[in-house]
Amino acid sequence: MRQFLLVLESELKEYFSTKGFMIWTIIIAVLGAGLLCLPRFIDLSGFTGVQVVAHHDEQEAHKKDKEERERLYLLDEAHITDMEVLEAYFPENEWVIIADEKALRQAVESQEAEAGFVIKAPDTYTYYVYNKKMNDEIGENFEDAMKVFYRRDYCQDHELSYEVMEQVYEAELTVDEQILNKDTRANYFYCYIFVILVYMMIIMYGQMIAVSITSEKSNRAIEVLVTSTTPNSLLFGKVIAGAIGGLLQFGLVIGAILMSYRLNRGVWGSSLDVFLQIPPEVLLVFAFFGLGGYLFYAFLYGAVGALSSKTEDISKTSGGVMMLITIVYIFSLTQLEQVDGMIIKILSFLPVSSYSTMFARIAMGTVSTWEIIVSFVILLVSIIGTGFIGAKIYRMGTLRYGNPIKFTTAIKGIRKMED
């Protein structure tokens, strides 16, 4: 135990005395927290819906030079358009009425016009656009405007009140929503983010642990280490130190972001709640399962680190672990929308995937307490098992130099050692 604590202390000292580790942690935490303060200084009302910067000169905004406005060309063969309506839908654009479709097309092609519309009939029009954007607001807005023209025409033709029809059409309903278990939509985004975070943690810190162990082989410090302490103390010390280092780094960054959001929630108009307003119990579950999954893979990375003699060979020995992590990651993300499905239920009991899938089930689905306990016990036992097998591989692999040792060869080697 004493030797384990000494290795742990030394490894932690190494992490925290590394300038890069500390500087990046602080930079990312400050940057994350700082970004969330932005609406206090910059007008992000378009996104947040909250007008924070009060010194907004409306006249200045409306004085936008006509020349600078993007032009939209219109040929109305059906004579149904109302320019007031169009200008209400397109306040930032200038409308140019044109009589020739060919000229309209040429204007769009030469990008003199942002887009062009040829209305053939009240319910038929042609939309000309040079490059259609992912979020094509021009096309959508024009369609809405056309529907208004259509409804207005219809009301006139049938002697109906357009205003009454609009009221019926846009009826305001009072909904009293009572969610009796989980709001999947509300929890989806932070679950998504947490699955990505654990994946990043495992890959980043797992790789760091593997590199640290392989470096000890390549600089031969292992020769003195293995004769000074036990493989268990070495591997457990390194992995737990990596876990503490990783948790502190991620904890500091996430803590700073969540704290900053809590202070700035008002100016964001709660628009980031789906990402950053995380219930404490979900954070707790994430801490347990996320840390468990991280430790499980950290021990595997520790073992594969001992199978390489050179740091450049780590990718060869860690390829299998990396593939497993990535498959689990993809499965977890694709199954997030069906958290009560059979696949995710099975995955939530496997130690290779429970860190993300059980967490997702708890946050978004229906899961009973016994399932959580069983899954966590399986994960815990697997961590301890992987730790001890990892230590055996570590012991077997540490003093074998040369070509990387295959994982299967290592397992066979352990069996022989046991015999």
Binding site: Q3, L6, V7, S10, E14, E216, N219, R220, A221, I222, E223, V224, L225, V226, T227, S228, T229, L399, M417
Partner: protein
Amino acid sequence: MKLEIKGLYKSFEEKEVLHGVSFEVESGKALGLLGRNGAGKTTTIRILMDVFRANKGEICLDGKPFKSEKVKIGYLPEERGLYPKKKVLDQMIFFARLRGMKKKEAEESAHKWLRRLQIEEYAPKKLETLSKGNQQKVQLATTLVCNPDIIILDEPFSGLDPVNAQILKDVVNEQIEDNKLVIFSSHQMSYVEEFCEDIAIINQGKVVLSGNLKEIKKQYGENRLIISAENYSLEHLNKKLEQELQTLIQVEEQKKDFLILKLHQDCTKKQVFEALGKTDIDVDVFGRYEPSLNDIFIAKVGE
């Protein structure tokens, strides 16, 4: 303290690399563990350090089964290894504490050894910034920092200049005088001759020669004489002796400065001396042959 290695066998995969290695060493003495590359010296040491387990055989300390974790061992591996990016003092303290020392005690001991090896000014520096010789001295200081009872030195002199080698020699001698048990593995026979009372030569996983070095030398020099002459070159002297003294001796080997003669059974040094007096050979050097360790080593494992 008496450490006994008894009949160690070890196989890797299907290949047996140790075939019953046995030797013993006592406190206040140094054992020279010799052998060609790949003979099994490092494997034996690693079994002793409990890095590998022997397939068969045992190691005893004062008659009881040896447990490496119960005894303080200082090990200087042939493949030097410390952390290049860590400060010298920090890693010495770390290794001393791993081997059971308290922090303050470890710090004091680290300073003591850095001072003794004349490298104290490098204590706050990263290892990688030191010269190879000084890194070697740090490695030795790290080996001795825990005040070990058993010291295992695997090629400790490689990479050292004569001045540093002298410092290291003094340190090793002090440790032997301090009643430490020293196992000294090296290819540099002159150092082994200087420190070691006993030797064990391993060849292809077997101890082919072991015991007290003086007695081994005496045994190897038995019935052997050396001779050189003022008036004959060694080649001519060789022919002359084979012609005129063939009933008494046989020329066994020609060295750079003398010939080695082997006495026939029941012949004596005196008879040879008298016979020489009757020839025209103007004897320059004549006496009992005492082989160097190098000669013994080559004779045992060179074929």
